[in-house]
């Protein structure tokens, strides 16, 4: 993409874009947990959708295209009553399956994670629900570069002021408890609008989500302040069973 646009934009802008991309890449390499935890959040659909069936399956189409295989299943354990809230439990899972297709004796990698969660919801008005819940995100990222050569990486390390040879092996696990709350309401056009905010107290990470849902698709964006990913647009799909 950089080459496609290079004829139409200034050299300074291209230089700035390249530096930003490299910086983001280094942020990802030095703090992969933060990045994959953000993807985890984007894939999930934690709100109380008005699905009348017992189960709902969700997929992130965008991350599937990027070979991050994922799915989420939600189960409506209790429909709710005048006193008791609705109870929904679920599990989401993601795996970068394309990493296993790289056949090289010098490189091996894997990345996957899953999150069980429980959401309580209460109808405030006919078109409005309030929900709150908790989840526990677990993920593991492993990258190993065999025969990492200090001499080859030395020049690039000097220009970036960062020792690339230290990236020969990355092994990182995250296990984080998170809480969230939000509202979802039904618009006159039949679409559902969801606003969600959540927090991981252990790592003090905030995540937010703004979403519009139709009968099959969800669109929106997530904002992860002070994170590698920053802003993530998403396009998800759900099926009620």
């Amino acid at each position: 993409m950089l080459f496609c646009f290079s004829d139409f934009v200034s050299a300074d802008f291209m230089d700035s874009l390249e530096k930003t991309a490299i910086k983001k890449g280094l942020d990802l390499a030095t703090n992969p947990n933060d990045f994959f935890l953000s993807i985890n959040n984007t894939i999930e659909n934690l709100g109380t959708d008005p699905f009348n069936k017992r189960f709902q399956l969700n997929f992130s189409m965008f991350w599937n295209f990027l070979t991050v295989g994922n799915f989420q299943i939600k189960y409506k354990a209790y429909k709710g009553s005048k006193i008791m809230p609705e109870i929904i439990g679920g599990l989401s899972y993601w795996n970068i399956w394309s990493l296993s297709l790289i056949s090289s004796s010098d490189f091996s990698a894997s990345a996957s994670g899953f999150t069980p969660f429980i959401t309580l919801g209460k109808e405030l008005k006919k078109d409005l629900k309030f929900f709150a819940g908790a989840k526990y995100s677990i993920g593991n990222i492993k990258v190993k570069i065999q025969n990492a050569n200090e001499e080859d990486s030395g020049d690039m390390s000097d220009s970036l002021s960062f020792d690339l040879s230290s990236l020969a092996s990355i092994s990182s696990t995250y296990k984080e408890f998170g809480i969230y709350t939000g509202i979802n309401y039904l618009r006159f056009s039949g679409k559902e609008v969801v606003a969600l905010i959540g927090y991981y107290p252990g790592i003090k990470k905030i995540f937010t989500k703004a979403q519009v849902s139709s009968s099959v698709f969800d669109w929106g964006f997530c904002i992860y302040p002070d994170s590698v990913l920053g802003i993530d647009l998403f396009w998800n799909m759900h099926l009620n069973l």
């Binding site: 309580l120 409005l128 609008v193 905010i197 937010t208």
Partner: protein, 390 residues
């Protein structure tokens, strides 16, 4: 214990008690500051959750929590001035007691926790200026004369900086003294009148705040360090008067503000222990501002506002510095800024609104030393705020 938990659970989730009194708000604001050919991204997220438990028509309890983030957005600003970020958690419990039709009492207790970082690579929770604020207070709300709703507030506040070490004293004493001395206490007394109507369509808003602060350990700064006989204290008066004129679909507002800050603290400047200069009464100032605005109600769901502002600040005994940092002792530091902007608000549904805003700010000062604080600049601020509220 189990029965108590069940009772609390039922109270919290039963229809007509919790959810009929629930408040939820999520505001996401993204913006960019353009100044001197550079751009800096900003991000502000605010979320509030509150619910009120009414025991009867005269007694109720409100629990409130706010989560707030303020800092750079995507791009991670390289300039240190725009790289700071803060994450705030605010918990409040307030009891509402309606004494009679014209008097209500609202005692409250709150805790505020701020995590503060200068840059992205720092770890949350280890910031030098992380803050814990404990607050106890009471609001007295009186209708008084029927057209003047009066509120008197008293708050006792304790500010504690758990990670702060006095870097100056450490430097002066060759790192022998590491006492945490930034903790202080504050008494806030506030008197306000809101939307008082003497002659419709004219309304008046008035607020007077008095802050009396005293430091727990910090003494007055002398040339040898914090060694004066008195501890640091401050008195701050703030007055805001805002008449508002509402006529059909237009509102004209004019806000006048005056602030008088008096502190007994001094300042020292120097690069080595032998060339230190002492500047007394360094933090006292007077500030005046005027902020007119015009709001046009375009329809039932949207409005456009023109915003203007002028702020003038003069220090009582602080000298400005030239571009090399040399103090100009024959004058006092002055700053002033002008601002003008547009704000458009549209309600897209009962609970969802959008608010784009543009503001231009020009600031100048007789202080030309820009290494720590930039007093001379002009900037364009463009923001877009998405808000969900119930």
């Amino acid at each position: 214990m189990k029965k108590l938990g069940l009772i609390i659970f039922i109270i919290l989730f039963s229809q007509g008690m919790l959810f009929s009194q629930l408040y939820f708000n999520l505001g996401i604001e993204e913006g960019v500051i353009l100044s001197s050919g550079e751009y800096y991204t900003i991000n502000d997220i605010t979320s509030d959750v509150a619910y009120m438990i009414p025991f009867n028509k005269n007694n109720s309890l409100m629990a409130y929590y706010q989560l707030k983030y303020n800092g750079p957005s995507v791009g991670d600003n390289a300039d240190a001035r725009f790289s700071e970020r803060a994450q705030d958690h605010y918990f409040l419990l307030k009891y509402l007691l309606k004494v009679n039709n014209s008097l209500a009492l609202k005692p409250s207790v709150s805790f505020f926790k701020e995590f503060y970082k200068f840059a992205k690579n720092e770890v949350w929770g280890e910031g030098l200026y992380d803050l814990n604020k404990y607050q106890f207070g009471i609001d007295i709300v009186s209708k008084g004369i029927s057209t003047i709703p009066l509120t008197l507030i008293y708050k006792y506040q304790m500010f504690k900086y758990p990670n702060y070490h006095d870097l100056l004293t450490m430097y002066l004493t060759s790192f022998q003294d590491k006492k945490e001395i930034e903790n202080y206490r504050n008494h806030l007394i506030s008197l306000s009148i809101s939307e008082a109507s003497f002659s419709k369509p004219l309304f008046i808003n008035f607020i007077y705040d008095l802050n009396l602060s005293s430091y727990d350990n910090k003494k007055i700064l002398e040339a040898t360090g914090y060694s004066g006989n008195d501890k640091q204290k401050g008195v701050n008066h703030s007055i805001n008067l805002g008449p508002v004129y509402r006529a059909s679909s237009t509102a004209l507002a004019l806000n006048f503000g005056l602030e008088l800050n008096d502190s007994n603290q001094n300042y020292i400047f120097g690069y080595t222990s032998t060339d230190i200069q002492l500047y007394s009464d360094y933090y006292s100032y007077t500030s005046f501002n005027v902020k007119p605005s015009i709001t046009f109600m375009l329809s039932k769901i949207d409005y456009l506002a023109l915003l203007f502002g002028y702020i003038n600040k003069q220090y009582k005994n602080r000298s400005p510095q030239d571009s090399n940092g040399v103090f100009l002792l024959d004058s006092n530091l002055k700053t002033q800024s002008l601002s003008a902007g547009l704000s458009y608000f549209i309600k897209l549904s009962d609970y969802f609104s959008l608010n784009p805003e543009y503001l231009y700010v020009k600031s100048d000062s007789n202080n030309k030393y820009q290494q720590s604080v930039n007093y001379n600049y002009d900037a364009h601020l463009i923001t877009l705020k998405l808000n969900y509220e119930y």
